[in-house]
Symmetry: C2
Subunit: 274 residues, 2 copies
């Protein structure tokens, strides 16, 4: 069995031999029928044995939701042909990863790739993103995990450039290993391959959504609200994912799941708790 | 209007006068009828003008989910008597905060308190927690925000000690202000007030859930799965929330929403992206 090892704080793939194919779990949040996950299956099949466990319906904006209060369904299908083992699941992206590890693979996969998402997961979007929650769930489980997103919401988005950059990044993951307790968030600008200037390692830009709910009344005279909002980048830094994407670079942000604000521990210790 | 100001990286409450009462938004994830949110309303009413916008049904495990693909309902109710303005909302905790700011308060509140949650939100649970997602949404909006959780899942949990410690911590927030771009996660052990040894400022313990899905068949012979799991603490540190709670301390963890793994940026820059 191909096993990822931990070496100098990196998860490495040193024990891989020619005979062993890595086991790669693929998930997303747009649902198993989305073109973006098909692009991932096409790329990742060249790297190892692919198994897909993905939501049976769109799960955008699900953040790190998990399903506690109702049971999950999971059905084997052949969405990607007879060669690829694939399952659709009634749960969230994080549920899919948990169920895949426990009930489908019966072990940790060697790699987890989530996406390609239809739409951006840059900056603060990483918190709301189902795509990134699948990758984060993988990283929490100790699986080298990446999420890919293309800045195009449309169903007929062109994933050709995204596929090229997925290959480049995955080759590096197999060569260098993954930083420990870290997942990777990759966003690809919505331009043609020859317009992309390369890959930039970035930090998450300081940005937020300013909400403007659309207030309506239903035919029975009752109020309802649609969430709409405007993305607002408050960060002028040229080392951010927003800057990279605005300047036609692929952004690569290392993401952590230790949410402790370590810098705040010392000042909080001066508080009076008596 | 009472306005929180930013001073030396802390959000302070320096502009408060005797005449002005701070506006306090209260939310939770157990739903507006949960005893835990009633305890919060009781405590926070002594600090300012309280407005409640909370889910109309339990939302545990919703992580940072937001509702994109269906409209939200929000109804004014008098769950906490005629003195307290209160609304129940069909959305997630994060939806409740967004809707409260845009359509109920029409401005940022001066403080946001989420909870008291029925059950722990220590360690990795912060990522899955609806309670903490409400507080995180507030912090992203620039509102000083805290989430409180009692380590007792039962509906008839005793919140008396939790209320005492909520008062102590909120008094400090008004006195010192909040660390910038940081929210606070407070967990209270499930012991009587006189057994609690005090408050410890902590980091999130390195821990995870090991899933064991319960595989069943419905009356029609179809498979379904219930999520169950075992919490596994892999962290021996005595500066963690798990250690504090195990030793009858209230844990106070500063939490950030910049998820960049800054330490991983330098090694990733050595990757070959050509």
């Amino acid at each position: 069995m191909f096993v990822a090892a931990v070496y100098r704080g990196f998860i490495t793939f040193a024990s891989m031999t020619q005979q062993e194919k890595p086991l790669i779990l693929i998930c997303n949040d747009d649902g198993i029928t989305a073109p973006g996950i098909k692009a991932t299956v096409e790329v990742m099949s060249s790297f190892g044995q692919v198994v897909v466990v993905a939501p049976d319906s769109p799960q955008s904006g699900m953040g790190h939701a998990i399903t506690i209060n109702k049971p999950l369904r999971m059905i084997k299908n052949n969405q990607f042909g007879d060669e690829i083992e694939s399952y659709q699941c009634s749960g969230t992206p994080a549920d899919c990863v948990k169920l895949a590890v426990d009930k489908v693979l019966h072990r940790k996969p060697d790699l987890l790739v989530s996406g390609i998402n239809h739409g951006s997961n840059s900056s603060i979007n990483v918190i709301y993103s189902g795509t990134m929650s699948a990758a984060m769930e993988g990283a929490i489980e100790g699986i080298p995990s990446l999420g890919f997103s293309l800045l195009d919401f449309s169903w007929d988005a062109d994933f050709s450039a995204a596929k090229v950059y997925m290959k480049i990044i995955i080759r590096n993951v197999f060569h260098h290993g993954m930083p420990k307790a870290t997942l990777l968030s990759v966003n690809i600008p919505n331009v043609s391959e020859d317009e992309i200037k390369g890959i930039k390692v970035c930090r998450q830009a300081r940005a937020k959504w300013v909400e403007e709910f659309d207030h309506r009344q239903d035919p029975h005279g009752r109020d309802y609200f649609w969430l709409t909002g405007k993305f607002t980048n408050m960060d002028k830094g040229e080392d951010t994912d927003e800057w990279a994407l605005d300047n036609n670079y692929v952004s690569l942000v290392p993401v952590q799941f230790d949410l402790t604000a370590h810098h705040a521990i010392q000042p909080l210790n001066s508080w009076d708790f008596s």
